[in-house]
Symmetry: C2
Subunit: 363 residues, 2 copies
């Protein structure tokens, strides 16, 4: 019997997190009788007097937003991480009861004054403003005392715990490197030390192999027809990684040279970044003709002075699987044993390649 990835269950290795995931592609055939999601409205007003993120409105913390015209950043009124000093927990009474203090700050970035837009419907110029804001916050937070990681992310859609459709993202900066970036950085360092690059991919810091430069290089050069690349431009590639967990997960990264953080992006790379962000989010919305929910997270050099082993990349984790209202549940087996997916990454990439490149709501 020959191996057919679209019908034979198998496991794939995720070299960033150093773990396997289970691929059960034949499973998409089972009928779905479970929970369905509520569609996100597509007819929001441009300005909502009740929205605490709209220009000129008052937030729940009591402060009033300026009448901002591009992006506007403020400290989260209910921040999960607070400014220093963070009192140290007592010495643990047992080696199994370890804790550590943490301090930092949480920023909210309003992407645009218009309540009804999302990344997928913003002009490239407006996406450019968001990129500049990410860079500014990365630099500013990086330089604050004790900050070891600046985590930029976006929760989009109520399905992903987002409580306000007004386009916005967040940045949580902390005095420790969080678990997942920390695991990734260790994997990148291990790769740099142990692998001998077999391709002509760009080299990483100090001329050592970079796992992500190497990976994007082989994907870009594999040819897109039955591959994992969704869309690319002169500097960036968006692909469904070999080890994707979420049905339509995307890894977005620059592939032409090793770029540790957003701060190192050159003017043309920023322009191409805006372009690819637009292309990815448009394809997402077009897949099921809906406001496609996701969590996005950016991984890079922890702070300005951090380790150049990092290569800038963004993960998109979108929950939808079958339609605009049927999601994948990562639950019992996934929470307790191992991530499991119901279609191959190649199938997901082909689906995303196949949709229109123009937004379904544009006229």
């Amino acid at each position: 019997m020959d191996f057919d990835p679209t019908s034979h269950p198998h496991r794939r290795f995720n070299p960033l997190l150093n773990e396997y995931i289970l691929v059960s592609p034949h499973r998409a055939k089972r009928p779905w009788l479970g929970q369905t999601e509520t569609l996100q409205p597509t007819n929001l007003p441009q300005y909502d007097p009740e929205c605490y993120l709209c220009p000129g409105n008052t937030r729940s913390g009591g402060l009033t937003n300026p009448v901002y015209e591009q992006t506007f950043t403020f400290e989260n009124d209910f921040a999960a991480i607070l400014p220093p000093p963070a009192p140290a927990p007592p010495v643990p009474s047992h080696p199994l009861l370890i804790s550590q203090p943490v301090h930092g700050g949480c920023d909210v970035i309003l992407f645009h004054p218009r309540h009804d837009l999302t990344l997928s419907r913003l002009a490239l110029e407006d996406i450019g403003h968001i990129i500049e804001e990410w860079i500014a916050i990365y630099v500013k937070r990086s330089m604050q005392e004790g900050i070891k990681y600046v985590q930029i992310f976006e929760n989009k859609g109520s399905m992903m715990g987002c409580s306000n459709p007004h386009p916005h993202g967040q940045v949580w900066s902390l005095s420790e490197i969080p678990s997942i970036p920390s695991t990734e950085l260790a994997s990148l360092a291990h790769y740099a030390e142990t692998e001998t690059s077999s391709t002509d991919a760009p080299r990483g810091s100090q001329g050592r192999p970079c796992m992500l430069c190497e990976y994007s290089h082989i994907e870009v050069n594999a040819g897109d027809d039955d591959g994992r690349v969704v869309v690319k431009n002169d500097h960036w590639v968006a692909l469904v990684p070999w080890w994707a967990t979420w049905p339509f997960e995307i890894l977005l990264l620059p592939y032409k040279r090793h770029i540790p953080s957003v701060e190192e992006l050159l003017a043309e790379e920023k322009k191409a970044f805006a372009d690819i962000l637009s292309k990815v989010t448009i394809r997402y919305d077009n897949l099921f003709s809906c406001m496609f929910a996701y969590s996005m997270g950016m991984h890079q050099r922890p702070t300005r002075s951090g380790d150049d082993i990092a290569h800038l990349h963004l993960h998109f984790a979108p929950p939808l699987l079958r339609s605009a209202t049927v999601r994948k549940f990562l639950v019992g087996f996934e929470l307790m044993a191992e991530a499991q997916r119901d279609l191959t990454p190649e199938q997901a990439a082909a689906r995303l390649r196949g949709v229109e490149s123009k937004h379904f709501m544009s006229s």
Copy 2:
């Protein structure tokens, strides 16, 4: 400033998964304007002619269930893992494109003929039948060729991707040890090799320290008043672990002796297991007076012939946070950086201790 775990953000270390989680207890104060969940019905019929799991009914795969009177197990009609042989994927063209074959089987265990009951409302005798069924499947699947792990779990509630309220659980058995149990087993082995037990906790295999025997011992002996123990009996303890991720996560385990798997349970330990399962699930339902959703997973010695380093335990991962309809979303920061919780494990344990011990629906 003195450290106050209920108001100062801090991180706690999870020694099973070898990672930190972020505790932001002051965060529960923020208003919630996001998605609310649909209440699970509490008025289901005892028999539903449309339910493919009720006795005597026909399943979607076309087979008919017997008129079972206690438990009934069948192979999943849409199994994620299939029986051997599993054809081997081709040799990877690059070290970043690794996959491996996997085979095994997926069982569905119907817990009880009645469509309207859940673990929380079953008689202890009926829970006892489920325990016997878990043991029987563990033994049977363990002995099949090439099986390396038997993962017992339950998804309960549509919020957790469960598509049928008829009480049932699943068992996925595989030819590889899945990622999470594999990490846990490595942590247990590391602990056994490096720690010198400081307590009079039961010893693990070959007289070495067992992380989980030790941990349950210190929790049981800490006194429950401001601790993490929710409920215990002569053999088992249910606690909100120091490193809990989900708001009301519970770790359930035997604490009197080292027990690698369900197969080793003595008659009185099985009885106590049924008792504590009932107590935990009743408290869960009573917390918000609803059919409380969760994923449950059992970790133990991978198979009969596996490593005795394992200590039998169950994880309960319930999503609800504030009420019967407001859940915790583990999304952006959590998916991309690190798990984050909004109340301390001690606060969660106190809440669960504080509810009635009699089910809210019982008369």
